[in-house]
């Protein structure tokens, strides 16, 4: 059984041999290292201005070049990693807790509860993700905490849908019926028996959502709705770099590269985990 495999020792052995998991996992690990040690390994103070080195192209001294204030782009990108990772994990955490609970309740209960919850989710699905995030930011106001909430609201319905599907697949299995026959309470059955066996797709969705969250935070910051200075947000660095594209193209290249590689890592990891956890998907995506 694929979902049960998520906990067995076989899972780790299979996962660690899977190319996509290794590739994605390595990138995620590097991102994690950059987030933890970014300030230590950064060659310069990320906010130190050096007017003698404005718009320096990539050189040995500044491998990603410098910006209009002579700040070292490589150090700024490293320094920005920790906030990007933090935002993504908190946003996806909120999103997963809310979405998984809704999906679990809807899928396990069925009937009108299911109808109501899923129709409400449909409403959120009908709004383009970026637009929904912009609307939430308009209501809550700018800033990094609000960006996390906006991202959480945008992606919670996906968690609800994924969880509901997985829950429906296991809710009538023998062990659930047995628990019911033993007279266990609804909550206990849902959280102790159904949820652990529906975890596979949720784990996959978590990884893919982390990728979305990094993209979404970058987009919101790019529009000036997300993090505020002096946080070296990758999205905002790009939007600042836009003004100097012809003069300093590296300002428009490296922050974007950082976003893309991080997103790629979580995407690859998510796809790989899907292969490992759900053999039906193997080789299909």
């Amino acid at each position: 059984m694929s979902q049960a495999a998520a906990r067995g020792p076989g899972f780790w052995r299979k996962a660690l041999r899977h190319g996509l998991v290794i590739a994605g996992g390595s990138i995620v690990l590097l991102l994690g290292l950059a987030a933890l040690l970014g300030n230590v390994i950064a060659p310069y103070d990320p906010n130190a201005m050096d007017f003698t080195a404005r718009f320096s192209p990539p050189t040995l001294a500044h491998i990603f070049g410098t910006d209009e204030f002579g700040r070292d782009l490589f150090s700024r990108i490293l320094d920005g990693a920790s906030v990007r990772v933090k935002v993504a994990f908190i946003a996806v955490g909120i999103s997963a807790v809310a979405g998984v609970t809704l999906g679990l309740v809807a899928g396990y209960s069925g009937g009108w509860v299911d109808e109501v919850v899923m129709r409400v989710m449909d409403v959120f699905f009908a709004l383009p993700a970026v637009l929904l995030a912009i609307v939430v930011m308009a209501i809550l106001g700018r800033g990094i905490e609000n960006a996390m909430i906006a991202i959480a609201i945008v992606y919670a319905p996906i968690f609800a849908r994924v969880t509901r599907g997985a829950v429906i697949a296991v809710r009538d299995r023998e062990f659930v019926n047995a628990a019911r026959a033993l007279g266990q309470g609804r909550l206990r059955i849902m959280f102790a028996h159904v949820l652990p066996n529906a975890l596979g797709p949720i784990i996959v969705q978590t990884s893919l959502s982390l990728a979305f969250a990094i993209l979404a935070e970058a987009a919101l910051s790019f529009f000036g709705l997300g993090t505020q200075p002096p946080d070296p947000s990758w999205g905002r660095m790009l939007s600042e770099g836009r003004a100097y594209l012809s003069q300093a193209p590296w300002m428009g290249i490296f922050p974007g590269l950082a976003i893309m590689v991080s997103v790629l890592g979580f995407n690859l990891l998510g796809d790989g985990l899907r292969d490992v956890l759900d053999p039906r998907y193997r080789g299909r995506s």
């Binding site: 129709r119 409400v120 449909d122 409403v123 959120f124 699905f125 009908a126 709004l127 383009p128 993700a129 970026v130 637009l131 912009i134 609307v135 930011m137 308009a138 209501i139 106001g141 990728a211 993209l215 970058a218 987009a219 790019f222 529009f223 000036g224 709705l225 999205g235 790009l238 770099g241 836009r242 594209l245 012809s246 193209p249 428009g252 290249i253 974007g256 976003i259 893309m260 590689v261 997103v263 790629l264 995407n267 690859l268 796809d271 080789g283 299909r284 995506s285």
Partner: protein, 304 residues
């Protein structure tokens, strides 16, 4: 579907009551006295019960196409939105065409030879395409085609009525930005849809009885994969519209997405409501059209 539209209209309407500070205060500015704000709220009808305001708002939209007036310019928003619709539509359509132009051949190439070098390069490229931030892709294309080569304009919109080339040269970069990304996503689905059909017994039978390969592909495979592909295209509209919002902002494209962002930044809430509501309606209608197209593609599907 009507239920979803009703829900969307409720959410959209709820933007204004949920906001910090009333629209009257936005109009009058921070220095306005509480009395003048209250007076304007009364004139704008904001002191009435929410249910009455909702019915009034949605009634105006449905019966007269009246989205209210902009808090910034005072102009009717309905006209502003109408002016912007063609820009958003043309961008979405050309981007979709661009995406299909990538996804169909790439999906075919990799599905026909799974595991081959070509298959591998297609999946690596599509993984990259899925992970690229849309606004960065826009910047890179501007950097290459506008800044460096000087072939194409980096921003702005020309309607088709002012000639094909002015229109096309302006739409090409934004449409390519969206198209490359949604094309990458679609490639993966086209590939798996084709693989699924290629594994069917009737395809093997057709091969076995000596039907030429191109004919098998045309008559059996493509036709049967079309349903899943149309579904993907329909579902892609959500991602596509989302990317269009972003790309409009980068390329100064006067569409609904740009309207939504400027409205948010200027706190012009009626305009934001109009942009959000219309995008959701477009998306829902596209979904319905996707469902209905199945009856053409698959005679077994009927809607009673």
């Amino acid at each position: 579907m009507l239920l979803v539209l009703f829900g969307v209209s409720l959410v959209t309407f709820a933007i204004v009551p949920l906001l910090p500070g009333s629209p009257a205060r936005v109009t009058l500015g921070v220095q306005a006295t509480p009395e003048s704000v209250a007076a304007l709220e009364e004139r704008m009808g904001l002191d009435r019960p929410l249910a009455v305001q909702y019915v009034d708002w949605i009634g105006g939209i449905v019966t007269r196409g009246d989205f209210g007036t902009s808090l910034i310019s005072g102009a009717p928003i309905g006209r502003e939105v109408l002016r912007r619709l063609p820009a958003t539509f043309s961008l979405a359509l050309v981007a979709l065409a661009f995406g299909l132009l990538i996804a169909l051949p790439a999906g075919f190439v990799s599905a026909l030879r799974p595991g081959s070098g070509r298959d591998l390069s297609v999946s690596v490229l599509s993984q990259l395409g899925v992970s690229v931030p849309d606004f960065w892709m826009g910047i890179l294309l501007i950097l290459l085609f506008s800044e460096t080569l000087g072939w194409l304009p980096s921003s702005g919109y020309e309607p088709l009525s002012s000639g094909f080339w002015p229109w096309f040269s302006h739409i090409l970069l934004p449409a390519a930005t969206v198209g490359i990304i949604s094309g990458s996503i679609m490639t993966r689905f086209v590939r798996s849809a084709l693989m699924e059909v290629l594994g069917q017994d009737y395809v093997r039978t057709a091969h076995a009885k000596g039907v030429p390969r191109t004919k098998v592909l045309r008559k059996h495979v493509t036709r049967n994969a079309a349903i899943s592909i149309v579904t993907i295209v329909g579902l892609q509209m959500a991602t596509l519209l989302s990317a269009v919002v972003v790309v409009e902002i980068i390329f100064a494209w006067p569409g609904l997405g740009q309207l939504a962002l400027t409205a948010t930044l200027q706190r012009d809430y009626p305009a934001l409501q109009a942009a959000v509501l219309l995008s959701a309606v477009i998306f829902t209608v596209v979904n319905l059209a996707t469902d209905l197209s199945y009856t053409f593609l698959d005679p077994r599907v009927t809607y009673s």
